[in-house]
């Protein structure tokens, strides 16, 4: 099940906790992986750990030209991109009343617009080959909202809507477009929180624990697989029951 031998995947934000877990999981199923991100050292360390079939393709997705160039770089490294995982994202939290235009724009640019540009660029090859998987890593807050994250929630909700539209456009070509929506996941970002706050987070999760990046990666592997070929335009919520939608 879920064998990805011979497939090539591009994972953005692969230097982060969730992105790295996604890259490891796809690679473990036999896929070649292009690791994109801004932290080159972390990407190189991950490529070294994975060994064969791993390529480092750094890119700053707040830059339009770099975003456009990334697909070409990944295609020349692996021959083609069969699976695109739009995982790169950042936060610039703040109450809406005090949110600066730059903070709104940057979050939308990286989390949503870059994902659109990358999707548009990979679709050409996927259409020709009549096979493709585009997977967006969105967030539970894109569905529920969260105070202090008007920009982030908008970008993640936008990704869900965009994925549905793309899914409808290309379904006839055997290309699926889906999202995975993590809840609270233990990463470097949550490690630094005080224990009290961690307990509070965990209290909101029926499963009684924070998610592990591998919980998210497993969902991505499924959606990338041949077996998920009839699943498109969907959002898979992986959140320990925190929100049941």
């Amino acid at each position: 099940m879920f064998d990805l031998t011979g497939k090539s995947a591009l994972v953005t934000g692969a230097s982060g906790g969730i992105g790295a877990a996604i890259a490891r999981a796809l690679h473990a199923q036999g896929a070649s992986v292009a690791l994109s991100g801004t932290k080159v050292e972390a990407l190189e360390a991950l490529a070294l750990e994975l060994g064969e079939r791993a390529f480092v393709t750094p890119a700053n997705l707040s830059n339009t030209a770099a975003t456009e160039a990334l697909i070409k770089t990944a295609e020349s490294a692996m021959g083609q991109v069969d699976i695109l995982v739009n995982n790169a994202g950042l936060t610039r939290d703040g109450l809406a009343m005090r949110m600066k235009d730059e903070d709104w724009q940057l979050v939308l640019d990286v989390n949503l617009t870059a994902g659109f540009r990358l999707s548009r660029a990979v679709l050409r090859g996927m259409m020709k080959r009549r096979w493709g998987r585009i997977i967006g890593i969105t967030s539970i807050v894109g569905v529920t909202g969260n105070p202090g994250q008007a920009n982030y929630a908008a970008s993640k909700a936008g990704m869900i809507g965009m994925s549905k539209a793309l899914a409808a456009e290309v379904a006839s070509r055997n290309i699926t477009v889906n999202c995975v929506a993590p809840g609270f996941i233990a990463t470097a970002m949550t490690d630094v929180l005080p224990d009290e706050q961690k307990q509070k987070l965990t209290g909101a999760v029926p499963a009684g624990r924070l998610g592990d990046p591998r919980d998210i990666a497993a969902g991505v592997v499924y959606l990338a697989s041949e077996q998920a070929g009839y699943v498109t335009g969907q959002t898979l919520h992986i959140n320990g029951g925190m929100a049941m939608i």
Binding site: R124, M127, K128, E169, V170, S172, R173
Partner: protein, 79 residues
């Protein structure tokens, strides 16, 4: 020059699975040959590949018939 017309028609027949007799110069991809909008995008991609030229989006939007494609390629293609 008729060579370009033949190659264009061949691509249209292959991609749309259209009957050869229906692929006349004045045939519209969508109205006469049963293409949908995604098919027209794919046709343009196939023309680009066959003739080694780039067809910008604003030009691609105006390629609605077999003749439109032949004319554009005659005017722009290297091959």
């Amino acid at each position: 020059m008729s060579d370009i017309a033949e190659r264009v028609k061949k691509i249209v027949i292959e991609h749309l699975g259209a009957e050869e007799a229906k692929v006349t110069e004045n045939a519209s991809f969508i109205d006469d040959l049963g293409a949908d909008s995604l098919d027209t995008v794919e046709l343009v991609m196939a023309f680009e590949e066959e003739f080694g030229c780039e067809i910008p989006d604003d030009a691609a939007e105006k390629i609605l018939t077999v003749k439109d494609a032949i004319d554009f390629i005659k005017a722009n293609a290297a091959a």
